[in-house]
Symmetry: C2
Subunit: 206 residues, 2 copies
């Protein structure tokens, strides 16, 4: 509990945690901090000597470990920060929800956008436990946050048995050489919707 | 209505539509067919002379045009087929739902997986009105369908003002040269979750 208290003090100093992050919920703050500190010890992190960036990344790393232990999904987690506030957290839940798109970053991006009521993450930062796969990188470019912090690399994920590096290679291969065949049909008739889009005067661009 | 009837007959021959696709709902079938035929006329498609693949792609193209006209989102739609049955349809609804991940393919993949109660699309085909962006291609590789049919190319999408080609270029650029900065933190402490994953005997791989 001493460590948890130290961490609350540390976070409060760094991020004005009590005022901004979890305004009236010191109990929850203490619980999160205590859980983080326990995990931090296992992760060999020193929760009292890190910068604000490191604190947010420590949270993502702690959640990624927690996600494996709970059996909910793969070893990945992400948090999204605006200003000094965590506005969304996500953990991989592909197998628990039968949703192949439910990677940590995707879950966090969707939740952050829901909270902000916006399809863009203006002035937000993403802290993710692992370099995003092409799906998540694509989502990040569509959501347009200010920057992305990551810990493990795509190569680390590949060594742990995940397809990230393979998918990166596939996306830069010609269609004909890809493992999932890509076949073009009806190209001549296809532009009608794009034409309608260009002509639509009240469209919302994204 | 003559065209709609002709199309129902055509689809019934090709895909045993009445038996497989919409077993007891001829009314809905007629409505869909009539709507498709109206759109097909505008798209200059001949609904009575196409193969089964073309029929599914025509449906995706019709939905993509419908999505622009309804104002719900961008000019993109996708259908997912298993056997001769459409099991899911998706239209872009990024702006309508404030969800940057709600591309047509993503919506369709999530819906198909929900219906199949699986995080993989075994023996499924995706028909999409446009070559998928990196996010959607990533999702496709995670979902592992048998093949992908597309109509417009990524270059067509870029000409219509969408970021697909830009994102493809970014993903093959070194981290330091990307428009959204990618910064690695705490790499030394990061492997704990991967280690726990490797050691977990009851994990579900995906």
């Amino acid at each position: 509990m001493a460590l948890a208290d130290a961490r609350i003090g540390h976070l409060a100093r760094l991020a004005r945690w009590r005022d901004i992050l979890i305004p009236a919920d010191v109990t929850r703050c203490a619980t999160i901090a205590a859980a983080d500190c326990n995990l931090a010890r296992e992760l060999m992190l020193d929760p009292t000597t890190n910068s604000l960036c490191d604190t947010f990344m420590a949270r993502a790393l702690a959640l990624s470990l927690q996600n494996v232990r709970s059996g909910r999904g793969g070893p990945f987690a992400a948090v999204i920060v605006k200003g000094s506030e965590i506005i969304a957290e996500g953990m991989n839940c592909v197998t628990a929800t039968n949703d192949p798109t439910a990677h940590a970053e995707m879950v966090a991006i969707r939740e952050a956008c829901r909270k902000l009521q916006s399809f863009e993450l203006v002035e937000c930062e993403i802290y993710t436990s692992c370099e995003p796969c092409p799906m998540c990188m694509g989502a990040i470019y569509w959501a347009r946050p200010a920057r992305v912090y990551f810990a493990n690399s795509a190569a680390d994920a590949a060594r742990a048995g995940f397809d990230d590096a393979f998918i990166y290679r596939e996306l830069s291969a010609p269609h004909a050489e890809r493992k999932i065949p890509m076949i073009q049909l009806r190209h001549d008739e296809a532009p009608a919707a794009f034409r309608a889009w260009r002509e639509k005067s009240d469209k919302i661009r994204y």
